[in-house]
């Protein structure tokens, strides 16, 4: 089985090729911006490095977020186009799952995988070890740190996280006793989990907040 993995949700732009549980080619560039322009050329380069043609792809897996404003849609849009053209199956994987799959299984559990965004916005999902793998133990929780109390925060276990541009948590982190360790992504661990069919979600974007929109107010009283 040959799989293409795409991720543009954070500052890195990633394209990996997996075959039968092995990472056979990987490209990763820290861009900050410009993922939309770089991703498809990177796919070409990675495919060439792996010696894989599009007809051989059986699955395309894209990271669905949460992530940057535009980044959450770049990999999904490209993956949708590739899937339409190749007939490969399309799946999504969340950033929470990526962090958990990549985390050391010897860490104190539960594992809380967090994404921090502008305005003190924090989302996390908790995971517990089952048969040697981190498995979700609850739904995704969203909160604004300034409106939260110590008791709202994950207490025991380990907190790993990623910080989106503009995320300023330091003061709130201190006040709430959070200690977020920067998450590290492991392509090998992701590959193993994806190959095992452990994570096969929908390729649908995950957003941290509602769209920024203001309802129209009537200018006059109408009769």
């Amino acid at each position: 089985m040959t799989q293409l993995f795409l991720d543009t949700t954070l500052s890195d732009c990633n394209a990996y090729i997996f075959r039968d549980g092995e990472v056979i080619a990987r490209m990763s560039e820290t861009l900050g911006r410009g993922h939309a322009e770089r991703l498809l050329p990177m796919v070409e380069e990675t495919m060439a490095e792996a010696g894989v043609v599009y007809e051989q792809l059986s699955e395309i897996i894209c990271v669905t977020g949460p992530g940057t404003f535009t980044g959450v849609r770049v990999a999904i849009a490209a993956a949708q186009g590739l899937a339409l053209a190749t007939g490969a199956s399309l799946y999504g994987i969340s950033v929470f799952d990526l962090m958990a799959l990549s985390a050391d299984t010897t860490l104190p559990q539960p594992l809380h995988a967090c994404v921090a965004a502008r305005g003190g916005l924090l989302q996390w999902q908790s995971f517990e070890l089952m048969d040697g793998c981190w498995m979700p133990s609850g739904d995704v929780i969203t909160m604004v740190l300034a409106e939260s109390e110590v008791g709202d925060m994950p207490q025991a276990g380990t907190i790993v996280g990623v910080f989106l541009p503009g995320a300023t948590l330091s003061e709130a982190e201190a006040a709430l006793g959070l200690n977020i360790q920067q998450a590290k992504m492991s392509p090998d661990a992701i590959c193993r989990a994806v190959t095992a069919g452990q994570v096969k979600g929908e390729a649908v974007p995950l957003y941290m907040r509602e769209a920024d929109a203001i309802r129209a107010k009537p200018v006059f009283q109408y009769q």
Binding site: R73, A79, A211, Q223
Partner: protein, 380 residues
């Protein structure tokens, strides 16, 4: 995200005969319509699948870019597959894949462009970056085989321009708006008067019941030479009249709204006629065609009152009047596929895979920008 109340419209014409290559898939995601269509070289729309997001934006009184971008990515793959299925094709049957690359809302453009580029890359087909305005401009050739050169009045929510069209990619701008687009003026008037979004159909419907002579509205720039438009003063005058009405009676009544809409629509009509008459004179100076076409395209061309007046003008001026059927006046993917096909037919080696989105992309990029107080310069 709400996915309710979506309108799906498939406007594929039944193939009259075996379609001729090339076959081009077009994708449109520049504003609040998500659409995919396949057209053939012999002007057949083999399939057209479209979802309008109007119901998702209506409570906000206009298009919300972030909502539009979120919806495009949800609907697009389904619509592309639907367009392929309705044309009984798979991606391998296509000769090229085109997408709107600008002008428009960047979040939406990105979704359509990336999906199209990825499809093209994986199937080894050329990707064609289409200017949304060129899609509107060339629709006349999809429906009517209109010969070059022709005069184009492009009237939509984002644009209001008069252009000489001498060929694919050959545009000479005779005039443009110095402030609001005409469709924008309709939308803002509707919002002010408590009518639904989109404003064009709502104002037209209310105007049908109104007295256009009760209120006097200005006709900006009509005493001036040239072909430029201005609608912000008209919009301000509408606000003042509405405020007067509301102050006198404590509220804005339905008959006031109807009369204001009727006066507004006539004023817009007078402005379009005046400016287009100037453009016709300029066009005549530059071209010696016996019966050139006046093409009216864009969402505002769906307004029946304005169509009627422009049609009369064309007849009086010995121009052939060409305007697309209403579903092809508003944003659609058939026009994007057709514009892509026209460019592909001229240069079969064309591949725009390295082109990025252009949220601002004037059709006539050599046109001198407008400047000065209150003037935004060349829009698009």
């Amino acid at each position: 995200m709400s996915k309710t109340n979506q309108n799906t419209n498939c406007a594929a014409s039944s193939p009259r005969h075996s379609p001729k290559r090339p076959f081009v898939l077009g994708i449109e995601t520049s504003c609040d319509e998500t659409a995919a269509a396949i057209v053939s070289a012999d002007r057949q729309i083999l399939s057209h699948a479209l979802i309008s997001q109007i119901d998702e934006h209506i409570e906000f009184g206009g298009v919300v870019p972030e909502i539009a971008a979120r919806s495009h990515i949800t609907y697009l793959p389904w619509l592309v597959q639907k367009a392929l299925d309705e044309a009984s094709m798979d991606v391998g049957d296509l000769d090229a894949i085109a997408a709107t690359t600008g002008p428009g809302l960047v979040g939406g453009l990105m979704v359509g462009m990336l999906t199209a580029k990825a499809m093209a890359q994986a199937s080894d087909k050329p990707f064609i970056a289409v200017n949304h305005l060129e899609g509107h401009a060339l629709t006349a050739r999809l429906i009517d085989d209109t010969a070059f050169p022709f005069l184009l009045l492009l009237v939509s929510g984002g644009h209001c321009q008069l252009l000489e069209v001498s060929g694919v990619g050959l545009y000479n701008r005779l005039g443009t708006t110095i402030d609001d687009a005409v469709g924008e003026a309709f939308d803002k008037t509707a919002k002010l008067l408590g009518l639904d979004y989109p404003g064009g159909p709502a104002v037209e419907k209310a105007a049908a019941l109104g007295n256009p002579r009760r209120f006097k509205l200005p006709r900006p720039l009509t005493s001036k030479a040239g072909c430029n438009f201005s609608f912000s003063g008209l919009k301000t005058a509408v606000r003042r009249i509405a405020e007067d009405c509301a102050n006198k009676r404590g509220a804005l009544y339905r008959e006031d709204v109807a009369d204001i809409c009727a006066a507004f629509q006539v004023a817009v009509g007078d402005c379009l006629i005046d400016r287009t008459t100037h453009a016709i004179m300029q066009f005549r100076e530059n071209h010696d065609e016996p019966l050139p076409a006046l093409v009216v395209a864009g969402g505002v061309a769906a307004n029946q009152y304005l169509r009627g007046r422009l049609s009369t003008l064309a007849r009086e001026q010995n121009f052939k009047f060409v305007t697309p059927p209403v579903p092809l006046c508003t944003d659609n993917a058939a026009m994007i596929a057709w514009a892509g096909l026209e460019r592909f037919a001229i240069d079969p080696k064309l591949n725009d895979k390295d082109i990025a989105c252009r949220p601002r992309w004037p059709l006539d990029s050599h046109a001198k920008g407008l400047s000065g107080s209150g003037k935004k310069g060349a829009k698009a």
